[in-house]
Symmetry: C2
Subunit: 625 residues, 2 copies
């Protein structure tokens, strides 16, 4: 029973009840219809619980929750959408902004990176030099009749998965198929073509024959109108800008190595994959670091700080030999020559970042690219992959790009990258000559005529990280499998708390205003849910969108000294706290200087209201509040 049917059914039910009402059906008719439908719904619900434990179904439920609350949605939906383009709605955009803020703190501030912001539109010369024009390609095949394009590795993968799911394969064939699957990323164009022929792979849906395997460039290119000579491309990565501006950045950094550059922005790739959702977009956000260092100095100055961090490493060798990933400290990995110190430092920092934003370390591994899988610019690459309902998802790539990019641009542009004496408008001759000598000295540490700086590049796919955060924090209540919630950490949660007046009654307004003004002044983010829905349903919504705390204003709140209940999302435990202490408590909770368990010890557990709407009215009359 797929979610689609359940949705269709509930829509149908609603329509049915409405129609009956519109037709002025008698109460008796309505009651009967209602009973019938209730039975049908309960049956459906039982079937739903049977499948709820499957990964595939959890994926549907998560997507459904994210779609329902408009975390994101297909772009241009009212015009039929555009394949692999997504919008972020208010919650998704807020969480994305929080994620990027975390990234800035963890990397830009901690590593003292230089920020750089460049256009997406890039002239062809840049990508000719960088090799993207020739080599940033996917292996594709075309339906010989419809002309539709497919990635051949995806077709082979689908074919093998299909075959392997049937039980009547011999042990040998099964093992052969698995072997192909494991190495799928490592085949050449010709090998892939051989596999296509061997497995007799046809065009999906049509069954038409396919062309031979060919390479297709993934960049979107166009001519800038009225200047037809200028061929430009939308950048598929941000890094080239750091390479072509290396001279300026180096000089800004007082001509010292090592240093890192940070860029956050959009990138564009003409992806053909069949996957849906925000994990394979054609326009997406990258956060990149280019760490430039002297190739004679493969050690990292801050390695000591992270050397004990343990990573789940899945080396190329282990993949080729069909072995599992191995957990070890980065210190051990460096000692065993599995990682260079610079690479190890950044993998450890990436790992720490992932934990901070709510990635489950048990579902995180670092997978090394196999030789043929490497991008044309990389000599080595490790991906941080998250295990999601969609399988392992590459979220961060950490490439060793050596000095290739800078070398290529030096050769192609004929630019002098390193000029120790640059032009200046200093008008005092003496100062100027002094400055020249100073700069000469400063350059002594590194001789660019002999060596070029090397680059380690951690590159973060923001949408994929977001999806993994949602996936790893998608939970169900133990006592009620139907109730899902997003256990988002404070670092990325859309707001710290949701404020819920028990009803829309006028009595609550002054206290609601007082509390929201205080929250605003203290810089604590909040949402007000004063819809007429029951408090239980509003808690469900607040939990579903991942708000860590809920503040409820009930009738007891109106009695002085004013108090509210404070509810924690994950434990759904609730205490009653004085309004005067609320801001202090939320501040401490949001900075994690106190835990909710500690709060529970300090304040009485909430078990239910003492006063109701009626008793409050009496209390007001007798001047109790």
């Amino acid at each position: 029973m797929s979610l689609l049917y359940i949705n269709l059914f509930t829509v149908f039910v609603a329509k049915y009840v409405k129609d009956l009402k519109a037709a002025n059906a008698s109460d008796e008719q309505l009651k009967l219809a209602f009973n019938d439908l209730q039975v049908a719904t309960q049956n459906l619900e039982r079937q739903r619980l049977l499948v709820v434990t499957s990964n595939e179904f959890r994926k549907y439920l998560l997507d459904d929750l994210l779609y329902k609350h408009y975390f994101f949605s297909n772009s241009f939906e009212i015009y039929g959408g555009l394949t692999r383009f997504y919008d972020f709605g208010p919650l998704g955009a807020e969480i994305e902004a929080n994620l990027i803020e975390c990234w800035k703190k963890h990397f830009i501030i901690e590593e003292k990176l230089l920020q750089l912001k460049s256009p997406s539109i890039t002239p062809e010369a840049v990508f000719r030099a960088s090799g993207h024009l020739k080599r940033f390609t996917d292996f594709c095949v075309k339906d010989t009749k419809t002309g539709k394009l497919f990635r051949v590795d995806h077709l082979i993968k689908d074919f093998l998965h299909n075959q392997l799911s049937s039980n009547d394969l011999s042990k040998e064939i099964k093992s052969e198929y698995l072997n192909v699957l494991y190495k799928l990323n490592n085949f050449s164009k010709d090998e892939l073509n051989e596999l296509r022929k061997k497995f007799d792979i046809k065009s999906p849906h049509t069954g038409n024959p396919l062309t031979d395997v060919f390479e297709m460039n993934l960049m979107f290119g166009f001519s800038m109108k009225h200047n037809s000579k200028a061929e430009v491309y939308l950048r598929p990565e941000l890094s080239q800008s750091a390479f072509i501006n290396f001279k300026k950045l180096f000089s800004f950094n007082k001509s010292k190595l090592p240093f890192g550059v940070a860029q956050i922005g959009s990138a564009y790739r003409n992806e053909l994959s069949s996957g849906t959702g925000i994990t394979r977009l054609r326009e997406f956000t990258l956060a990149e670091i280019q760490h430039f260092f002297d190739p004679n100095e493969y050690s990292h100055p801050k390695f000591k700080n992270v050397e004990e961090v343990k990573l789940n490493l899945y080396s190329a060798c282990n993949q080729m030999e069909n072995k599992d990933s191995v957990e070890m400290s980065v210190k051990e990995a460096v000692n065993k020559n599995i990682l260079s110190e610079n690479m190890a430092y950044f993998l450890a920092r990436i790992h720490l970042f992932m934990l901070k934003i709510g990635i489950d370390p048990r579902k995180l591994r670092f997978r090394q690219h196999m030789n043929r899988e490497l991008a044309h610019y990389a000599v080595s690459c490790w991906d941080a992959e998250c295990l999601t309902f969609r399988g392992w998802l590459e979220c961060v790539g950490c490439s060793d790009r050596s000095c290739n990019d800078i070398k290529n641009h030096l050769e192609a542009s004929k630019a002098e990258f390193i000029e120790c004496i640059s032009s200046t408008n200093s008008s005092n001759l003496k100062d100027f000559v002094d400055e020249c000598s100073e700069k000469d000295n400063e350059c002594e540490g590194f001789n660019f005529e002999k060596t070029l700086p090397c680059v380690i590049e951690p590159s973060f796919g923001i949408e994929r990280l977001l999806y993994s955060i949602f996936d790893h924090n998608f939970c169900f209540r133990k006592d009620d499998e139907r109730k899902a919630y997003l256990s988002l950490p404070l670092s990325v949660a859309p707001v710290i708390c949701c404020v819920l007046p028990l009803g829309s009654n006028y009595e609550f307004h002054p206290l609601l205003k007082q509390i929201s003004d205080k929250l605003h002044a203290a810089g604590i983010t909040y949402d007000i849910d004063d819809t007429r829905k029951s408090i239980g349903k509003r808690y469900v919504r607040s939990d579903e969108i991942g708000i860590p705390f809920a503040v409820t204003i009930d009738f007891d709140s109106l009695i002085e000294p004013h108090s509210v209940t404070l509810r924690e999302r994950d434990s759904i435990k609730q205490v009653r706290v004085p309004v005067n202490n609320l801001i202090e408590i939320l501040k401490n909770l949001s900075t994690e200087s106190i835990s909710f368990e500690q709060i529970e010890k300090l304040y009485p557990q909430f078990k239910g209201q003492v006063h109701s709407k009626e008793t409050i009215k009496t209390a007001v009359k007798t001047h109790l509040c």
Copy 2:
């Protein structure tokens, strides 16, 4: 004497001195050459001072300063650049990030706006419906021989400025020309063509004849490869996404009006203007608000909070009648029917934002668009313009788009924008039916079948705001016209303070580390300048890049209890403060809870060091520190 010559000259001087050194010139020869050059430099300097007061020269000096410190630079420079594309270097990117942070606080948080993030690549259907495909155009002419394109209004403007700068025009002609200039934005295609003919305007540089005036679309469009049917465009504004997603946003906002949507992102326009710099880019950043409201409710709930704000208003009438702008409170403007209350509210909020980020209110006006100048989607528009060295610069547009966009998309997409009952996966029938009734009630307040919501849209050009901030805060020391500095406010300054150890000596390291660790822990942004340049030159750099405070570690600092000097950028006043109080002081200064004047009263003025390198050594030996 243009800056270019001065630059060329200093480069020549450096080369000359280097060559002499390389040729093993005698000390005598060097001394003579040096004297000659010093005299030449002084002469140059005098000439430079003569022109330093002209606007044109100040523009050069500002651009030079911004370029020198890599605030920004031409993109893809090593490949010859790409016209009207710019990079932001570390300082520019940092200040832009701060500006956007201010914007988020001032608008998204204060106005409780819903965030939205959508792709830049947009299918044609959207812009066909919005009218951009037909009407987002400039009036152009083409050089009949070279094919080069020009905006005809720019050619006419240049022609008239040229004519007006010569003194031998009759009073009548002068007044006619001025009249054309004032109304230049308000001419139709045919009128512009008549003016072109009348003034006999030729192609600049070549003198070739020009074609008749025609309309050119400003959008970059292309075909997505392998799917040639899908014509897409890079969005020229962000707003369409809020319109086509209105239904989802409205429902997310609990089906209540008014509400606002906030978007920040890149936009693209194929600009033909001849201007340079970051004020007219082809790829740029917009921050937009779409404020949706019931057209029967033109009042704004928070208008009371801003009604006394005074604006410098330059109405279309005053422009047509060649009158000046007028200062009045927004309350008065509403009473006089110059502004609607919704428009007035946002203009006032924009005004307050501009002051917060460092715009000089004396150089700020709100100019109303004249009828023919209005974009096709607007029924009224007021631009916040800043007076810069480049003239009046439009930085924020605030359009009344009425309900046209939503209406157009409704008609074109045939989508039902407003459906009170949407599909849901709530599996409990009773709940579902309840929800339906609740939603029905919630929709009662606004009847979409009869009226569509209207839109006020403030749209901020981030790069132009940045440029205006630089321009309005570009100052010269009163006692030395050569010393420029950027008086950036704390809200946008790249960092709060610069830490300067007096020399690179090892003695300073422990204190430098202690101070920078403390700054880091307190979240106070800082820069360390430990280059070997003199302290004076390092102050100049710190002032030029707009850092509000400088912390200097000198030899006296090494004596316990440790102290440092604290210097304020604008007053260049300096006090000596204990290291133990430094963080507290900087925190209070950065939140503006204390002024530097107050700090001056609390701590001794700094007049010079007591200790030198030598006396410190003795002091260390005698255990004084």
